[in-house]
């Protein structure tokens, strides 16, 4: 019996779940939170990004048994945070998504960026977003949306 803190709630993961299971699959298949996406399974695409104690983490790489009391936030609840909602707004205003599949991960990485760097410059954006692939090529708009969101915070 595992206890996880997900989006402010205490979620119980049954014993039928192997503690080695990556958080991604526990979220998607057992907790009904499908916002974090599977793209590569090897930490190369960023689609599965969630926040663990505020840090962006690739949930496809994080064995659920090793999380302990660390606090998990997913795309479903990032809008409850000041920067999360700003980023979501900016994403919609800039009409960033094309297929949209990568965007949950992009938004989690972008929110984490604003949390530590309120006014990111291009190199901050590169460093924070390089791990998130967008197959549709929405990078131009992602960059603009992050800057717009930052401008709002200021």
């Amino acid at each position: 019996m595992l206890h996880l803190t997900v989006n402010g709630e205490n979620r119980v993961v049954g014993d039928d779940v192997d503690p080695a299971t990556p958080l991604l699959w526990v979220l998607r298949d057992h907790l009904g939170l499908v916002g974090a996406k599977y793209g590569c399974g090897v930490a190369q695409c960023g689609a599965c990004t969630v926040h663990v104690d505020g840090k962006p983490v690739r949930s496809c790489q994080l064995p659920v048994g090793t999380i302990g009391s660390r606090v998990i936030t997913t795309i479903e609840a990032i809008g409850n945070t000041p920067n999360g909602v700003k980023i979501q707004q900016a994403w919609m205003e800039a009409a960033v998504p094309q297929c949209g599949y990568c965007q949950a991960g992009q938004i989690m990485s972008a929110t984490a960026l604003l949390n530590r760097t309120p006014n990111p410059d291009d190199s901050d954006i590169d460093a924070a977003m390089a791990g998130n692939i967008c197959r549709c090529g929405t990078y131009v708009r992602i960059r603009r949306a992050i800057k717009n969101a930052a401008a709002k915070s200021a």
Binding site: A43, K55, V57, R58, C60, Q61, A127, A130
Partner: protein, 456 residues
């Protein structure tokens, strides 16, 4: 005239001296105080054979344990290939490539027709069934210390394997190395062909450890530098060496470059699991040695290994002390971007997700870079190799996986990121060039392993 004579004589002496120095190499256990004795004259508990846990086990089981201890599979299997069927490539710069052979009991292409004596001759003397001489890529100079009983137990186990028809690839060797006959001369100097001799003035664990390391595990084959004649030079025993494009590090007691700073506990965990907190995980050949051999050893035998390794006289090498403090958690601090902007971008793109800007992985202890010897090796040899080949270890804790970047990333990118990683997380940044990466790729080249990566 007379002067000339003296000069000639002097030269002769020097030449002889050099020759002698070259050929008269101390034995692997010569460093230890006290006189070794024949096994039969040794009063202590038998340092050879299997540990007491297996004392009652049948010949096959014992043979299996010993085969693991001797790590036959490491060289007699290609990555992703069928076990014990050979084909592993030893790329020896300037000499050529030697391929390991099929040691399944197949009668045409394997060892199915070997008699016990023929098997012992191969193990102890490096003589093939057809009388041809083996190259010391087969570590018979080590196995010559193995008892007949243990060697034959291994044979018995190998003969229970499914016979696989697999012809060994032709060696590609330059003259004169393609003249197998020359090995006869080499053997005279470099193969003692002498069974293990225990040392009564050392502890029982020490002797067991010595047997496991020197007769079985053949650690020296990678960790001890070789001399001009390609023989293991025990004057620099375990001082570290470059083997098959990978660095086998200093495993002497040296505090700076070796194991001096390791606790017994972390050493045991590292040997048995391929990972120890603060030292990171093993990859490449050592990763394989761990998963194919060391993990199978009993705790008692692992302890014996530690005891023996601890007794190796320190050898200094030019490796810096490892940095055990994490890097700053902002990419802006640590390595100034202008030093290696490309390395930083590649790291941000492909590496930071798991290794973090601090080097302490938020996802897996195996992915933590802080304190890892390879990262603190200013040649970045193993860092580059790990980036090129990735990690795909099957361990008790499940699959330890890092993607291989050799296919998708240019030598330029791999050099840049290797230099960046060593600079950011290690003691000193490397200066690998595109050329270096190309040559590292060659040295470690094996058959392409197109197995699917796990999804974890």
């Amino acid at each position: 005239m007379r002067l000339f004579g003296i000069a000639v004589a002097a030269l002769a002496v020097v030449a002889l001296g050099f020759a002698a120095w070259l050929v008269l190499i101390p034995g692997p256990m010569a460093f230890a105080s006290g006189r070794a004795v024949a096994l039969s004259d040794y009063k202590g508990p038998d340092p050879t054979g299997v540990p007491k846990e297996l004392a009652e086990a049948d010949l096959i089981k014992r043979g299996e344990y010993l085969a693991h201890a001797a790590d036959c599979i490491a060289c007699h299997t290609v990555p992703g290939g069928e076990a014990y069927t050979g084909g592993f490539a030893f790329n020896l710069p300037g000499i050529g490539t030697i391929y390991s052979t099929n040691i399944t009991p197949d009668k045409d292409t394997g060892i199915g027709n070997y008699t016990d004596q023929q098997f012992l001759d191969a193990m102890h003397k490096g003589i093939r069934r057809d009388g041809e001489l083996l190259y010391p890529a087969m570590s018979y100079t080590t196995y010559s210390y193995m008892t007949d009983a243990d060697a034959l137990a291994i044979k018995a186990y190998l003969f229970t394997l499914p016979a696989v028809h697999a012809t060994a690839a032709e060696n590609k060797l330059a003259w004169p190395f393609n003249q197998r006959g020359l090995m006869a001369v080499w053997n005279v100097f470099y193969n003692a062909d002498q069974r293990f001799r225990p040392n009564p003035s050392q502890s029982a664990e020490w002797n067991r450890g010595a047997y496991l390391v020197e007769a079985m595990g053949h650690c020296g084959e990678c960790h001890t530098p070789r001399n001009l004649a390609y023989a293991i030079d025990n004057r620099r025993k375990f001082a570290g060496a470059l083997t098959a494009g990978w660095s086998a590090y200093n495993i002497t007691g040296d505090a700076k470059a070796g194991l001096g700073s390791w606790t017994d506990a972390s050493l045991s965990t590292y040997l048995s699991t391929g990972h120890a907190d603060g030292h990171g995980g093993s990859a490449g050949p050592m990763g394989e040695a761990t998963d194919n051999s060391l993990t199978f050893l009993t705790p008692g035998d692992i302890h014996a290994l530690v005891v023996y390794l601890r007794s190796i006289p320190p050898q200094d090498s030019d490796l810096p002390r490892t940095v055990d403090t994490p890097a700053p958690d902002s990419y802006r601090q640590g390595v100034p971007a202008d030093v290696n902007a490309r390395g930083e971008v590649v790291f941000a793109s492909a590496c930071a997700s798991c290794h973090d800007w601090t080097g302490v992985s938020p996802t897996s202890k195996y992915a933590t870079l802080t304190g890892v010897r390879a990262v603190n090796d200013p040649t970045a040899t193993n860092v580059a190799q790990t980036i090129i080949n990735g990690v795909n270890r099957k361990t008790a804790e499940g699959i330890i996986f890092m993607p291989a970047f050799g296919e998708g990333y240019s030598d330029d990118d791999i050099a840049a990121v290797s230099n960046y990683v060593t600079a950011r997380f290690g003691a000193e940044g490397a200066h690998l060039t595109v050329k270096d990466i190309a040559s590292l790729r060659k040295q470690a080249a094996q058959q392409p392993n197109t197995q699917e990566a796990p999804n974890g």
